[in-house]
Symmetry: C2
Subunit: 452 residues, 2 copies
Amino acid sequence: MQTPKKIAIVGSGLVGSLLAIYLRNRGHVVDVYDRRPDIRKVEFSGRSINLAMSPRGWRALEAVGIDEEIKKIAIPMDKRAIHTPDKPMYYQYYGKEGEAIYSISRGVLNRRMIDLAEAAGARFIFNSKVWDVSLSEATVQVGESEKGEWTPNKYDLVFGADGAFSRVRHKMQRQSMFNYSQHFLDVGYKELTIPKNDDGTHKLNKNSLHIWPRGNFMFIALPNLDGSFTCTLFLPFKGENSFEVLNSEAKVASFFKEFFPDVVDVIPNLVEDFFKNPTSFLVTTKCYPWTYKDKVALIGDAAHAIVPFYGQGMNAGFEDITVLNDLMNLHNDDWSQIFKSYQEARKPNADAIATLSYRNFMEMSNKTADENFILRKKIEAWFYDKHPELWVPLYTRVTFSERSYAEALEFGDFQKEIMDEVMGLEGIEEDWKNEEVEQFILNKLKEKEHLV
Amino acid sequence: MQTPKKIAIVGSGLVGSLLAIYLRNRGHVVDVYDRRPDIRKVEFSGRSINLAMSPRGWRALEAVGIDEEIKKIAIPMDKRAIHTPDKPMYYQYYGKEGEAIYSISRGVLNRRMIDLAEAAGARFIFNSKVWDVSLSEATVQVGESEKGEWTPNKYDLVFGADGAFSRVRHKMQRQSMFNYSQHFLDVGYKELTIPKNDDGTHKLNKNSLHIWPRGNFMFIALPNLDGSFTCTLFLPFKGENSFEVLNSEAKVASFFKEFFPDVVDVIPNLVEDFFKNPTSFLVTTKCYPWTYKDKVALIGDAAHAIVPFYGQGMNAGFEDITVLNDLMNLHNDDWSQIFKSYQEARKPNADAIATLSYRNFMEMSNKTADENFILRKKIEAWFYDKHPELWVPLYTRVTFSERSYAEALEFGDFQKEIMDEVMGLEGIEEDWKNEEVEQFILNKLKEKEHLV
């Protein structure tokens, strides 16, 4: 049992809301601040990529008994549906039978999570801007404007769950010995929507994550409960095919007609929506340390914002909470030790999933349609099937296991080395389901047994 | 000729002062803001490593005719003086005969530069804190405190020359698509002083940069005009030999007695000074872009703070000014183009010297005393002497040439590959001044001719 504390959480997003439930269940007093209005009372922003909940996320929900509740607003996707210009749409299954990731609308989920956190007894304070945090006092400074009057609210602990551009982290960044980086991709994104059919059904296969890979850009679509799909165009800001170039209705229309003709068929207001919806940025942020003594801790995107290409942003944030919870069980009231162990345990994994996510843009946009890549995946799947204990494919390890991201990155690099050699074997394209290939991989694995 | 502009420079350090001279010489109106008092009227801080001026720095001074003036306060150092525990002190010459870097006290130089900038007509506004910059307006917001009243001062252009923790950059960092990183070394430093002899002479060889390399820590001493040496202890913050461990007078005394016995002989107030002087941090910062339209530009440490182990921090900042000046000649009043070309030209070189400086800590603290390293340097020097057009050693290229840092880094890596192979040749320790070794290096160079 922990001694009840007075705890502020800055940020009422997914991680902030779930953390509030965990802390309330332990008897702490929890105030959640958000600079924005209550998301339950406003329209969604039209700049969100649908979430893909995977087992790391589900586990965190399960531990506080809300997984079944959330599953009601989720749609399982057990495969990628690949749309290429030159052949019919085809499927790539993500995992073994029954393995799926779950599409959830960020807005719908966030509303539900706030309801659940309120029901658990957390107090939400919306339209309340935290401008500063006194780290050694755990005091949040709240006010209308940065230059105006601030009201100091004193807590025992403060969690910064305030996202990629966290104010709490911003304050920590002014300390000496605080390492920090923010790196923007030269690719941005824009949300579009495929509406439902008149009869309420989905216009595309409902249980798939649809991808239109086009080299250095791509279009994706994830299903919603109401029959629609939330779509995202990922496109460079500058260059031949880019947001900069698509500056007129005619150019947008002809761009979609050339590269995504089947998308044109299913989005009636395509050009209008394109100019109505904002173009958004993609940023990776890294920092360290994540905590200040026994007073302040960063969690979720505030500690490690990543690009969305592995679908692990929310899952990684929820896993932060799982780890933090385990450490609360272990160290009880020793918050210094809880925070120290938390940041040491999570930092290498946050760095690893940042790297994996960054790399996965190329895999999604470019390689999913590549013959060589598809063969490589087939060989991996075949070997995995024969030796499930020796070869968990990288995507499976990241998405469907709860082994650490750091281990996944390391083992994934090792697998890539092996597969590079396998793909170089003479005649591999014609004949690969044989003992020679199997033995070749087995021998390579033996050279580095500790990693398996 | 440029049309005269009203220009604010934030920061009256070395780069800010020199830039003021350049801009005044072109007829611009120049105000230099500094949050600190006039350095000419206060004691130095006791936390500065002496500067080592090299040709990139001298060139920038020469172009505005102040190099001779500054040479009067500089002491040439043509060699490293290496102090190891197990043999007598010995010299490593930096370059060819007559090549030297110049030791200058940061405080003495900064005072002189402000005098010269004032004489050129720049206005210095000390004790004046710039809290914010309106990028699109080129307006600096000045006030007593961050939360207090600010006075907006409007300019045509603003330069941020306000160092590693630049407020101007801080404002730019809040924009989207601004990449930024700050990384602290786990090694800190402390200034100490070897006083002059009673007769005013130096206690150690005056024309040397003295190094006591000790693996993961080191002590260095650079000469001052007044007969003293400004010394720096570089030491990890934590671990076996670290600032954390040296927490009592007895421990400091025994640490120096064990590792730097000859230093104990020449610093009378060693232990007292150790606790009086602050322990300082070492940070590398990187960012991009460096400019905002035709309004705001970062320069020197504000754009690229580096660790001091290549002695190039000030030289790189001064070279920024040289490049900027060339571009003002080229593009006249087209400040958008000047700023665009400036950042594109300098960014790769700033990144390269950051990498080289970071790496050089290991070279200075560890390798300078290593037999293998010394042999390697001897072979390089011998080959350089035979083929000066084919092999400029990395240190020489960075320090004594004005070829770009980026090229130095790239060619240096290539040289290292070759020398790794040379050092692996059988019997190289016994016999290396021979045609076989010469031909081996020549053949390797031919494989990559474009780089020479």
